[in-house]
């Protein structure tokens, strides 16, 4: 490889973009819109709404677990990297954890773009061989009698974890509950936050 370092990369990408725009392949306005969409509009606040709705609406929860794509589309979250959504539910007996060992597959419409650690070698290498050690680094202890179920996103199925609703949240509105649902809780590296 050549051109290491941030400055070299800035120059390299600027040159490539200029060339692609000049040749008419890329529309600069579309570039800005793509960045705006994924930097500011799509993110884990979408997935948090899905989870909070499932916690407060048993019929929705049933639809969500039966057909994740359709139930998530009810809230308007569709599209690229979320075409085939499957929601997996954490229970007292099963803790779900999502990884993509081969690249970086992640449910964009509900979680946005993945964090660096999700795409980097340590997580991709270790989530499948030592998930409990990985969870421990995130501060999570899972009992030996609980199944850790790791989902390796090798196809175009995208997984969203439905975390357990925290104790002491009875009576809270879906809006307040959504604030307890973190990105990591929907990947499976954390529990939903306590209120």
């Amino acid at each position: 490889m050549h051109d290491h370092g941030p400055d070299a990369l800035e120059l390299r990408v600027q040159a490539l973009e200029s060339l692609l725009v000049e040749r008419g392949y890329v529309d600069p306005e579309a570039m800005d819109r793509l960045i705006e969409t994924y930097e500011h509009e799509v993110g884990p606040h979408n997935g948090a709404q899905v989870v909070a709705r499932a916690w407060t609406d048993p019929d929705y929860r049933a639809r969500l677990l039966a057909d994740g794509s359709a139930a998530i589309a009810e809230l308007g979250f569709t599209g690229r990297q979320g075409e085939h959504m499957v929601v997996v539910e954490n229970t007292a007996d099963v803790h779900n954890l999502v990884v993509c060992t081969l690249c970086s597959c992640y449910p964009w419409p509900v979680l946005g773009l993945p964090p660096v650690w999700y795409k980097a070698p340590p997580y991709r290498a270790r989530a499948v061989i030592e998930p409990r050690a990985v969870l421990g680094e995130f501060g999570m202890e899972v009992g030996e009698d609980v199944e850790v179920r790791v989902w390796d996103s090798t196809a175009e199925i995208r997984y969203l974890v439905l975390p357990e609703r925290p104790a002491g949240t009875e009576g809270l509105s879906a809006e307040v509950l959504a604030g307890l649902v973190t990105r990591d809780a929907m990947i499976g590296t954390a529990k939903a936050a306590a209120p």
Binding site: M1, P6, E10, V13, Q14, L16, E17, L19, L20, R23, G24, Y25, V26, D27, E29, A30, M31, R33, L34, I35, T37, Y38, E39, T78, G79, R80, Q81, E83, H84, T101, L102, C103, S104, G112, L113, P115, V116, W117, A120, P121, P122, Y123, R124, A125, V128, I129, F138, E144, D145, V146, E147, R149, V150, W151, D152, S153, T154, A155, E156, I157
Partner: protein, 208 residues
Amino acid sequence: MNGAHDLGGMHGFGPVGPEADEPVFHAEWERRAFALTLAMGFTGQWNLDKSRHAREAMPPGDYLATTYYEHWLFGLDALLAERGLLEGAPAKLRRLDAGNLEKALKTGGPTERETNAAPAFAPGDRVRALNIHPVGHTRLPRYCRGRIGTVERLWGAHVYPDSHAATGDQDPRHLYSVRFSARELWGPSASAADTIMIDLWEPYLEPA
């Protein structure tokens, strides 16, 4: 291909290291590399599996020594060169613009397809992931090859990445969610309670 991208089960990378309050992008060039890759993907000059394969083809030492969006740039450069898009007169390509962008993002690219073929396996069937080492693109991770699992569900027929990357042919094949016990994959030091679910296409599997 048995590339550096196929990371499941490797040792020695150290802790996962999440970053507090992480930004979506860490530099302007990452924003641009991301958007350029999506915009050029829309031209239809290559498909998603082909672009994954282009990143996987990065030499292993380089792949592990560079960051995520550098992999994307490597892949984009390779695909542009392969299609000859930077040589001679500009080609007339389908272009992502203000008029089609929202619909493109909202629709995405579903991969499920109709097929007349009956699925070879049903939930509950024991299957072995083949011990094969294709030199082209595949989504059969090395860590499950030769291992026995149980079909959990059928996801329908989906575009088959091995064919799609090699020839552009969608070649839909049945896709299964296959459950492997952690001990089957990793031996006696793994937890007896734990399982790994892997989505595997029918050509990756045989009855066990």
